[in-house]
Symmetry: C2
Subunit: 421 residues, 2 copies
Amino acid sequence: MPYFISGVTADHNDLVARQPSEFKKLNDVDVLTRHRALGIDAANHTVRIADLEGGSEFDAHYTRLLISTGARAFVPPLDGASLEGVFTIRRLADSIRIKKFVKDRHPTRAVIVGAGPIGMEMCESFRGIGLEVTLLEMSEQVMPFMDADMAARVQARLEEEGVNCMLGQGLTGIEGDPSGSVKSVGTGGGSIAADIVLLGIGVRPESDLGAQAGVELGARGALRIDGHMKTNVPDVYAAGDCATTTHAITGTETWIPLGSTSRKQGRAAADNMFGADVEFRGVQGTAVVKCFDLTVGRTGLDEREAAAAGFEPTSVDIEAESLHEYYPGRGAMFLRLVADRPTGRLLGAQIVGEMSSVAEKRLDVLSVAISARMSADDLQYLDLAYAPPYSTAIDTPIIAGNVLASKLQGKICSCTGAGLD
Amino acid sequence: MPYFISGVTADHNDLVARQPSEFKKLNDVDVLTRHRALGIDAANHTVRIADLEGGSEFDAHYTRLLISTGARAFVPPLDGASLEGVFTIRRLADSIRIKKFVKDRHPTRAVIVGAGPIGMEMCESFRGIGLEVTLLEMSEQVMPFMDADMAARVQARLEEEGVNCMLGQGLTGIEGDPSGSVKSVGTGGGSIAADIVLLGIGVRPESDLGAQAGVELGARGALRIDGHMKTNVPDVYAAGDCATTTHAITGTETWIPLGSTSRKQGRAAADNMFGADVEFRGVQGTAVVKCFDLTVGRTGLDEREAAAAGFEPTSVDIEAESLHEYYPGRGAMFLRLVADRPTGRLLGAQIVGEMSSVAEKRLDVLSVAISARMSADDLQYLDLAYAPPYSTAIDTPIIAGNVLASKLQGKICSCTGAGLD
């Protein structure tokens, strides 16, 4: 949706993965739009449904039921949150409203609250249409899911792109003018004039429907499911942003709502609901965001999380170019690789790279290696695809494996990978 | 070097990874250039060396010796192979000679013999400087390391780019004019006029020096080494294009000379020669080539190789776009994934994609998955990095895992991945 607002994506209809009519045509699935599920009667295996257009109510029977109600944007309990010009961005209608507001009202000063992935994408989107942008973030860094020094690289780029970063500042209020439009945003550090405000301070699982039917809640209040996507209520499954999942490395229940995970959970739920025995193995916290011309991503655990999970983390930093000097179009990337010192097992990676560095390739390679419980040694001998247009003769993950293996063997190693490619 | 010839790389000095002086400065290594190793006296641990400039000869003592003599271009035993305008491309000097020949002699008609990776790169290079190009290949397809139908996709693109592909035609002779310059190339199907000829019909290991010292030869006549890079001769190691390696999937000795493997073997050899115990685990046949705006690559085994190695191969084909429709710059790719039917173990992958599809990312993901002995099921639940600028919500390897898992479970599945992203 940020790309639709900035015009990178021209038509909002392209954002709809599949129309209701296609569900019918491709899978013989009836999709009821403009209907609301009011409640689940688990004992009788029925769902009470309201037809929002016709006004009637009726019961639908189920053999097995999937709750995939998703998540909703968190809106702080402030009076000003309902002023005109204050938005969240979660549903397609949100982005259409934002785009219309920009077109009709010509805002020039935007405040984005929250420096997570949505905030990053919206910085780029709003700068792309020429707005002045202030980014307000309560923690002391942008991108709270990255290590602070990695995040500082992102912050520097945001500032180069003209984004005014206000860190360590909480949102204390939103003020409006007499017409009911937003005028300014209050922070601990003073008031910021704003014509448009975007709240990107997280989402909450839509678990009310399930909870009312007796589904137990788990991490962050999401619907608790097992590896088969089953809740504690017989014949009721849940999947997607409303449901918990398992962290594949720590084994703990977690809630990391992402579109990629939703797809995988949905598939596993469908298989199990129709009689197969499919276990979804959880996630390892992989995420990536484009922030202007930077790629920012992570997978697995950072050192703090690794220590909390009982590992003895150590890490190496690699600064590398994606291609040899002689081939055009290369980009720089900065990679941190975390491993367990006694065993050498890879635990996590963070990367910040120029878009041209194809940092996401290196992140995915490391994600698979971590998932496979590979060690630093394993990484050194990966047979990755080399030709000059694609990588250096040994690619960044292998260099990281070399440096990490040396460090684990206790060799003095102050290098950052420079000259190793 | 093909990129230097076409001007993509401006300065041939950029192709030199490290100057002799840098070896001295960074590692205190003395590099003797313009010296030739004449012979090894393994009993006395000496190498006889000729100073090609000074004319003198001397013996150098070693505690441990590494033979890394590389490979040489194969030149067929034809009289015309030494005519002016007939080139191989293996050493830096070759590309400088080719570039000078093009500049001085203004050839307009090029014949490239051999449709392997070098031939592909040289088609792009020669077309890039405006030459008419005929590609002559003895087998019935370009890119003999790809399945025939995958190669046909590459051939179609070559032909769109104006390359005249003559397949199933062996080189029978090279004719010159009275001045000693190449005039034409003879094939079973007739003669082709040529102002410049590039022979890209493979390389041979430079194993003579080692063989004379008693080193046993292995696959394709390369110096046979074990996992520690040791030859059968005490204290003599070998690494790189002159040495054999092990195929990590089949366990058999093989010879697949590639720069990426050389780097890894060299590192392992150095570690072992200095007392560490490091095993190089071999290769799995990963390779990638840019052919105009196509990325063409493979890893692991094809179905024929898998059957020969005792597996029961099955495969799925996936045609996918790299990004969702709404995000600009996506590219199409065609992926074939091979697995062992009884166990589901992934054995190999081949991919042909537009450069914009970042097909090499998907190839590397699959390379790691194969290396980790993952199954179709494992592939389905990889936690890859998703955001709209980088992939579809579930990326091509995961889609391939979905389709392959369905096929292995005996579900009817005629889909090629369309609509699954």
